[in-house]
Amino acid sequence: MTGNIPLEYFLILSTIMFFTGIFGFLTRRNLITMLMSIELILNSVNINFVAFNHFLYPNNLQGHFFTLIIIAVAAAEAAVAIAIIINIYRNFKSIEVDKVNQMKY
């Protein structure tokens, strides 16, 4: 079903996605959008794993399961992160990342 799409395309796709996510992480002001960027990053990794598994090493499902685990972990991470962000909102009345810099230097 994959036709003749080369592996590299997937990799390039995931790479761009990965760095887009990082860019988001670095520039978004809102904590939740930063979290979204993280999801982008993880997603790109997933694509990598899947692509590698599918194209190069179909003899086992390591990449597949890795992806599966990453998705689960991402969920856990998101849950904790969102809980904390809500807590931040309670404390700071804002989820602006730049407001969260009481501790520095």
Partner: protein, 181 residues
Amino acid sequence: MDSNILFFLLAGTILLFSVLTVTTRRILRAAVYLLFVLVSTAGLYFMLNYNFLAAVQLTVYAGGIVVLMIFSILLTSHISEKAKLAGMKQSLLSALTVVAGAILTIILLMNHQFTASSEPAVSPDVQNIGRHLVSYGENGYALPFEVISILLLAAMIGSIIVARKESLAANVKPTDENPEK
């Protein structure tokens, strides 16, 4: 449908919405864009025959995480609120690093000779996956499966202690430390 076209369509969607996710000024829209990205990714998985994975992607990511995010957005922001943009310097520097990183990565990826395994393929169908998930020998994933449950449990407890409002917390005066100079 020609799978090539499908791929490019999905890839295009993913890239477009990825960029939009990290650039849009409306938070809720960002969440929606993210959803598009995740769904398109699921599409990729389908395309590659990883149906189970795609399903998980849709349920956990699209159904779980994004919804969670949207809820929390609603909880913490006004819908109409526009997110502030990062400073020019910060954006430029970040863009520089990110672009450099991406280019380097792509160069390295393109220059690498990947060698495919010659062993027979294992079909990623649900039976196989199920068997792998509960087996604990070679290529068994029972252990990670168990451990992830610990993680999820811990994360759950963690989220609860962080997010819940305690009866006591109301009585305890928040000790507000002054920011250090």
